[in-house]
Point group: C2
Chain length 452, copies 2
């Protein structure tokens, strides 16, 4: 066991060292050289599609043997058409500007020093991800375009696919200016090798986990290499007192149900008490029609079971609306856990709030700070919400589902950061870079030329 | 002991929770409100100077009793004049633009969504620092100006001073829009309380250690809160084949000896073999005059002990220069450790290299990636060096000593980041912020209005 571990360790460290050497070469390549390599990767993947599909068939067969759900089997499966799409995504990256070398700011200091802050690659990027083998190629391509070496660690369920994909890419690189070791699978398939990767501080510059909350949590807590957290989305839709009810229902349904298994789908709806009578019955009906189960607080639940004075604030209740209780859908009582849960399913938590500030407070307490939205006609409410809510994206009068590198026009994304350091929100190519200051002088010394 | 720990833990967590609440209030204050608070802090520090000086006298007396060196006692000491300077630094911060609210980028998407990426405070910033009590005020001021709550953890040697400073600042805040709990000392003075701070992920947004290499290392490895590494500088001066020898000597002396106890002073000089005969004897003489002890590799050492063919490459040697061996200063043989050491003293490591690429390779192996400089008349060499060397600052034909927020014109700095994520190089106010995307729509749904 000790020997096993030691040998796994040194293999991972050796791979990281090779990546580091490759990164130094890759960092100084031109955009033309990198784009040419991306085309070479795309062409090779298409040419070698039969071999990749055959390898993938092993993973798919093993997944079926293990009783994996068809949804996950589908995400694991590669076909000629899917490989063509993956290759096209690489070709699309060639159209994106090279972030490396961009001058972020610059000035000439009073002493004549010329100062430029310039984007440079991060260096070696470790990516730890779950089932989908397309991530193997996407991540390699984004790293390559941004001048970074990629150390890829997919799940063991996609091992044959990932091995074939990386093998094809590495061979394709041999005919380009990009060193082969700029794209590597992390060797070994034990948990020790992941641990080794997460502890390779000084060799690996950043680790980006892509997957579910538990994967991300284990990387965040186990890594001494800096981590960029991605993708856990406990997103809220807040329906303000002054909202258009029909629009609010439409935006809620789109946010929750247009696609529910993604991080930017809504998991909780908060309703201002003054609009509850008008909004909640319609919303419950629409949610029921969309197949969504509602986990409501006491005041929300009251709309599905009682005929009068449902919002508990003693106000008048519109009998016509409340009369529609049989259509009010499937509402169960929510626990505190429901408000903390990223369902990724056709479930939604729902609560009534007494004010915009109460909604902000609820969001501050429960949100994963991914995407938070308000639906309102009030300029003052929109301004207060966007100013007070701290999240990667704060949305007014639109679906939460737009928080995405593609929708935001960034071309491609490596993930959606839900942390505050380095990058927040959809991460495109610039977020895969660092900067350095280049200072050009003609003999300035501190003794003679200090600006201070 | 267990009880003690438990109570310390909850005290730190309670302080962090109060900071979090304060941060939410502080985040939405205007620049005018924050600047007014900075003035209030400055005025209070000056008004309460006698009390602060008295508290400081306790720390100074204890330091002397413990046999602390006079250099450190001097850094610890506060006087009326020094307090006035500290207060002026706060007033100077009011002249700096507020980073919060700055629109970093923005666009209108094809579907009409208006997208803005806006700077927001990080939230709660933990600062762990060593002796100098002026950091207590500087850090609090920079955090306040950038909308962040500060959790300050100074060294126990400055405890009385820091307690008095924070008490004065908190009282001054009570008359302003900034909540008192935006500035707090971390309670408790055991190592457990530091550990507790470093583990307060989710409550504390970032920890910035300021101090020596061992402090920084312990924070980096012990923290689950994201850390910004600062300030370890193993900086190099590379004298290219094509350098002006007299300028190279002047820049080397300024880089090493203008002030040697700071992170941007040079710790190693690398000399191209083709300029060694002309440069090394002059450099050794100048270093000796500046009181600098040289730790040289074999080829550098040969200049201080032999009279001919010193550079070992069989070339001609200028007898006049080499004849000056008695003036060639104090050169001892360097070990590998010397090249890894941030001396912060009147010592320098020196090595001869066969090419610019060899210099780049040496720097890649040994540097802390703080500040690296080349002295050359060659445009090609300057371009190759600035492109291939990856460091926070890469300098051409100037002293290394300019890597500093003040010199770069950033007004104030919280430290110099030597990591690649989030911030690199001198960190001013913008580096104490994150961003969020604000997305304004008029009813866009993914179902109807996707850009993809």
């Amino acid at each position: 066991m000790t020997t096993q571990t030691a040998s796994t360790q040194s293999e991972v460290v050796r791979a990281a060292r090779r990546a580091r050497t490759a990164a130094a070469e890759l960092a100084v390549l031109t955009r033309a050289q990198k784009d040419q390599a991306l085309h070479a990767l795309a062409d090779a993947l298409v040419a070698e599609a039969p071999r990749i599909v055959a390898a993938n068939a092993e993973d798919v067969a093993r997944a079926r043997e293990n009783g994996t759900s068809e949804g996950i089997v589908d995400r694991l499966t590669l076909t000629d058409a899917r490989i063509a799409n993956i290759a096209d995504a690489l070709r699309d990256m060639t159209a994106l500007p090279d972030p490396v070398g961009e001058v972020v700011r610059g000035s000439t200091l009073p002493n004549g020093l010329e100062l430029r802050q310039v984007r440079v690659p991060l260096g070696v990027v470790g990516i730890i991800y779950e089932a989908r083998p397309n991530v193997t190629v996407d991540a390699a391509g984004l790293c390559l375009k941004s001048g970074n070496a990629a150390l890829l660690r997919g799940s063991s369920s996609a091992k044959a696919s990932n091995t074939a994909l990386v093998d094809v890419m590495r061979k394709a690189l041999s005919g380009t200016a990009v060193p082969m070791d700029a794209v590597q699978l992390v060797p070994g398939d034990t948990h020790d090798s992941v641990k080794e990767l997460m502890q390779a501080r000084g060799l690996v510059d950043v680790i980006i986990p892509r997957g579910g909350a538990s994967l991300i949590e284990s990387v965040v807590t186990g890594s001494t290499v800096p981590v960029i957290e991605t993708g856990v989305g406990n997103c809220h839709v807040y329906v303000d007192a002054d909202a258009d009810v029909d629009l609010a229902v439409e935006l809620l349904i789109d946010s929750k149900a247009q696609r529910y298994s993604v991080c930017n789908s809504a998991e909780t709806v908060l309703v201002h008490k003054d609009i509850a009578d008008a909004f909640v019955p319609k919303a419950l009906k629409a949610l029921k029609q969309a197949g969504v189960k509602v986990h409501g607080d006491e005041r929300i639940v009251s709309y599905s079971i009682s005929g009068s004075d449902n919002n508990g604030d003693g106000g008048d209740v519109d009998g016509d609306i409340v009369a529609a209780t049989e259509d009010n859908g499937d509402v169960v009582a929510a626990t505190d856990d429901d408000f903390r849960t990223e369902y990724l399913s056709l479930d939604i938590a729902a609560a009534m709030v007494d004010s915009l500030d109460a909604a902000v407070k609820h969001i501050r307490e429960y949100s994963s700070a991914h995407t938070e939205s308000i639906i309102t006609k009030s300029q003052a409410a929109a301004r207060a919400f966007t100013s007070k809510v701290d999240a990667a994206a704060v949305v007014v009068n639109a679906s939460t589902r737009f928080t995405d590198g593609g929708e935001f026009g960034f071309g491609a994304e490596i993930g959606i950061s839900t942390q505050k350091l380095h990058a927040r929100g959809p991460m495109g190519l610039p977020e895969l870079t660092s900067t350095k200051y280049i200072v050009i002088g003609d003999g300035q010394t501190k003794a003679r030329n200090s600006n201070l």
